[in-house]
């Protein structure tokens, strides 16, 4: 797998993403500065979390117009696997690669903690190392993770198995209580129609190392490495 991580001026999970990928890949991905106008020859692109431009405007709105994002969109449309985590997810929705928007958390506060996710679709290049229905523990750290899509959009996402992860409890029950940020249908991560683009609010790269308290994020990167080698 040839991987790249996009770095915006306010990215702050770029190093975490690099380390997370390295755990599975065995070498560092390329780091690509947002002002670049060309991407290296890669088959996996990660858009990491952070506050890309301070997020003073709508989260991700400015980054979506960065020079490099035009290239990311092109590659995504050509089938390259693209993962957006947290702010990266917001950027991918702003760039039009994923449907819906991320709004301010229902309780209006930043939330940083481990949550449980139910794996809804385990037959993608991102999720094949999980089993469908499995509950995994992954941290969130966001202020704007409240996923919203209009009824018709939501229906097509659900009908087309585009929901990758939903917030659930430890036992895997998708409940109102487990819905930490008010997302519609407890959605924590979604795929595009072709299933080669995944956006998710939780941070799989933060739990790929037992010293940090868990490794439930690692199978996601393992799956990509396996699929792309």
């Amino acid at each position: 797998m040839k991987a790249a991580v996009i770095v915006f001026p306010g990215s702050n999970c770029d190093r975490d993403m690099m380390v997370g990928i390295e755990h599975s890949l065995g070498r560092k991905p390329e780091m690509v500065w947002h002002k670049e106008t060309e991407l290296p020859d890669v088959d996996f692109i990660a858009v990491p979390g952070g506050f890309s431009y301070g997020d003073y405007l709508r989260c991700g709105a400015m980054s979506a117009h960065s020079p490099i994002m035009r290239e990311v969109v092109k590659k995504a449309n050509a089938g390259v696997r693209v993962l957006g985590v947290c702010n990266g997810f917001q950027i991918l929705t702003e760039a039009g690669l994923l449907p819906g928007v991320l709004m301010r958390n229902a309780k209006l506060k930043f939330i940083c903690k481990d949550v449980h996710l139910k794996v809804e679709n385990a037959s993608t290049d991102f999720t094949s190392k999980y089993s469908a229905g499995q509950a995994i523990r992954i941290p969130v750290a966001h202020h704007d993770g409240n996923y919203f899509a209009a009824d018709d959009v939501l229906k097509s996402i659900e009908d087309n198995n585009q929901v990758a992860f939903r917030y659930c409890d430890e036992a895997g029950n998708v409940s109102e209580e487990a819905n930490i940020n008010g997302s519609r249908n407890n959605i924590a991560g979604i795929l595009n129609e072709n299933k080669n683009v995944l956006g998710m609010m939780p941070h799989p790269e933060r739990l790929c190392d037992a010293q940090l308290g868990g490794t439930d994020g690692k199978p996601l990167f393992d799956a990509l490495v396996e699929a792309l080698s």
Binding site: P9, G10, D16, V19, F51, G54, C112, H143, G213
Partner: protein
């Protein structure tokens, strides 16, 4: 004709004597620009004029100290050519006036102190103190301060991993926001602030200068009155996105070898940064103020010198390096300007479109700033309280429930879940333990960090209280298995012009110094915040300490959670049942009084060394015993591990509540496998450490001498107080 009237002098906070000294140094009457500079440089905030005499008595040296107080932050060696740079600083006054921005810029300021010296920040901590929970402003302040810290810290991408939050009515009119930053640097690439090289360019980079924060340092050096809210314009506004860019740009610039000296523009902005740099380097400086990047039109030299706009840096470059430096700032979309040069005149000359608008001698002003030996009276240690005399009609389980759900014991998860405590991917010990642990990136070493203060002990006996804080940080670092290395102090007190307050300052500093010397645990940086008073009502003496320790193998770190059933619970250190100034006496009996517990520093050292050695040999569960004594400590361990315990009160104990809730110092709780417990006790004895088996882990209840309560019920009380309290205000 005189343009400076006595009223203008008074508005600038200079006393009559200080004004006379000012005239003497200048040899003429200063103009308004010059007076403004005197005002901030001699403010309590910048000059430490009331505390300097006493701060000098603190121990600041050890073989592992690379740089002690006097620079932007303290620097200690952690081997392998790595250094930790850290400091704690208050942003009390601004956070009361404007909680969000006050707290946010407190975080920004302390981060700059750390990366200015060459460190990448690796974690933040904060120590917060608010008024009574029933006071009308408390919720608003908690909410604003926490979101300010969260908004800033999360955006810059530095994890906020530890801290404390306490409520007491003495903070009703003066909350305390003490922020600490810790950074990691190469030990052979530390940057200092002493300017050098006549002719070298003085370069400004970062944000533009606006009109915010003018006279912030002077504001922070006076008591509050009812009209303090009118001072809101003196509070700065933070821009964490720009701070993130400034961090990256500064660290990148540091790799080029072009920097002679560097300093951030913090309190008193361009004035204090340029003065301190020139003064330390023994050079003069000439500034072209019209070259300073300005946010608004029509700004005056006076405003430019005194603005406290955030996210700005001042650097002396090697000659000819301007273009390379500018290219880095362009990459990060930051302002860059050459605003002057170093001279050999020993003066600071301020120019405005070519015209001299200020000319001051640097050394006399910076170094001859006032130092006071303010009159003080010693706080007399109150009478000791005999445990037998304490009325105790509250059952032990009811007392435990009350304490567990009390604002000063309840979980602060509501706060720390709003902080990104995991970003940077090295938080191996998350918030909620004795110390947080941050892994040194790409190594197996860990940095343990904690912040502590026991204002109620300091109020009753400043000297013993000062010792206790040092000992408590030492224990918190030790309890995870780390070696305590050094301390930063953030001394918050009332008005030093009152002899009883000055007595608290002197007592606490003496106590802190004594304990730091005994534990070989130097103070390497710090900050003083005085005049924390409103309408003559001072805060409890609050000398907050932040401490740093090193654990060489993070896989051996211990945590507070009970790990398995059937282990023996052992108390290390002596239990006598000290109730004076305890939480039990305060909360259960409604008495805030009595002599606080004594700290035996020799025992502290012996017990600490033993505990640390045992953790490195395999003990994985450890907690220091502090507020609320044994009962609260075991309850916390049970709640963290979701495992109960049964504690046996020794038969010879006369007052069970004193044994359970007493706050004797120098104690830890560890668990070891039951079959190894006796050998452990013997081993402790051989090391001169008192050890007693007090019970065993297991079950789903916390049982204290036959009376029990479910861990789950206790946990609900512990976890729910703060969310319920904050929700009640919405």
């Amino acid at each position: 004709m005189s343009e400076i009237t006595p009223e203008i002098v008074a508005e600038h906070g200079l006393s009559e004597d200080e004004w006379k000294l000012c005239l003497e140094i200048m040899g003429r009457e200063p103009n308004l620009n010059e007076l403004g500079i005197f005002s901030v440089m001699w403010s309590e905030h910048c000059s430490y004029k009331s505390s300097k005499k006493w701060l000098k008595t603190l121990p600041t040296e050890a073989p592992w100290v690379i740089c002690g107080p006097g620079e932007n932050a303290g620097v200690i060696d952690i081997e392998d050519n790595q250094a930790i740079i850290f400091k704690m600083e208050s942003h009390n006054h601004p956070s009361y006036i404007e909680p969000y921005q006050g707290a946010a810029t407190g975080v920004g300021g302390i981060l700059r102190d750390v990366f200015t010296m060459g460190a990448r920040p690796i974690c933040n901590l904060n120590a917060l103190r608010f008024g009574d929970v029933d006071h009308e402003k408390t919720r608003h302040l908690v909410s604003g301060v926490v979101s300010g810290i969260s908004g800033y810290g999360n955006c810059v991408g530095v994890p906020t991993v530890a801290g404390e939050c306490e409520f007491h009515s003495s903070y009703n009119g003066n909350n305390l926001v003490n922020a600490m930053a810790v950074g990691l640097a190469d030990a052979d690439n530390i940057f200092y602030s002493a300017a050098a090289g006549v002719g070298n360019p003085v370069v400004y980079f970062g944000s533009k200068t606006g009109r915010d924060g003018i006279h912030g340092a002077t504001m922070a050096s006076a008591e509050f009155t009812e009209d303090s809210e009118e001072k809101r314009p003196t509070v700065q506004v933070g821009d964490p996105f720009t701070e993130k860019l400034v961090i990256e740009a500064t660290l990148e610039l540091m790799q080029t070898g072009s920097i002679v000296a560097i300093q951030d523009m913090g309190a008193a902005g361009l004035t204090s940064s340029s003065f301190e740099m020139a003064s330390k380097g023994g050079v003069g400086v000439e500034l072209e103020l019209d070259q300073v990047p300005m946010r608004e039109e029509g700004m005056t030299p006076y405003e430019l010198m005194l603005s406290e706009s955030q996210e700005r840096m001042l650097v002396i470059l090697k000659p000819g390096m301007e273009a390379e430096a500018k290219a880095i700032m362009d990459k990060w979309d930051l302002e860059f300007a050459v605003i002057g040069k170093l001279t050999d005149t020993g003066n600071m000359v301020l120019k405005w479109h070519g015209e001299v608008v200020g000319d001051l001698p640097i050394d006399p002003l910076a170094l001859a700033s006032p130092e006071y030996d303010r009159p003080w009276v010693k706080t007399e240690r109150p009478a000791e309280i005999d445990a037998a005399s304490v009325e105790s009609n509250v059952g032990r389980i009811d007392a435990l429930k009350t304490l567990t759900a009390h604002p000063n014991f309840a979980s602060k998860r509501w706060i720390w879940e709003q902080y990104d405590h995991m970003v940077m991917g090295d938080t191996v010990g998350r918030p909620g333990g004795d110390s947080a642990i941050v892994r040194v990136h790409e190594t197996n070493k860990g940095i343990a960090v904690t912040s502590d203060c026991s204002p109620r002990y300091c109020y009753q006996d400043p000297h013993e209280g000062g010792k206790q804080i040092v000992a408590e940080t030492y224990r918190n670092i030790t309890a995870v298995g780390a070696t305590p290395l050094a301390v930063t102090d953030n001394l918050n007190f009332g008005n030093p012009e009152r002899p009883e307050i000055m007595g608290q300052i002197v007592g606490c500093i003496e106590g802190i110094g004594e304990a730091c010397r005994a534990l070989d645990y130097p103070i390497v940086s710090g900050n003083v915040s005085l005049y924390n008073e409103t309408n003559g009502q001072g805060i409890l003496p609050t000398p907050t300490l932040g401490a740093v320790g090193l654990i060489k193998d993070i896989d051996k770190a211990a945590s507070v959670a009970f790990k398995k059933d059937g282990q023996a619970i052992i108390v290390l250190g002596e239990t006598k049942g000290w109730l004076g100034a305890s939480r039990y006496l305060e909360i259960i009996c409604g008495r805030e009084e009595g002599a606080p517990p004594l700290v035996d520093l020799e025992a502290e050292l012996k017990t600490g060394n033993f505990v640390r050695a045992e953790i490195l040999c395999g003990v994985d569960t450890c907690h220091d015993i502090s507020d609320g004594g044994i009962a609260v400590a075991v309850a916390e361990m049970a709640m963290a591990g979701n495992i109960g315990c049964s504690i046996d009160i020794p038969a010879n104990v006369e007052q069970a509540y004193a044994w359970l809730f007493g706050e004797d110092q120098g104690r830890y709780i560890v668990t070891v496998d039951a079959d190894k417990a006796d050998a452990f006790v013997v081993k402790a004895g051989e090391a001169g450490v008192t050890a007693n088996i007090i019970g065993q882990t297991g079950g789903s209840d916390v049982v204290l001498g036959g009376e029990g309560i479910g861990v789950a019920e206790l946990k609900d009380l512990h976890e729910n107080w703060m969310p319920d309290y904050m929700a009640a205000g919405e």
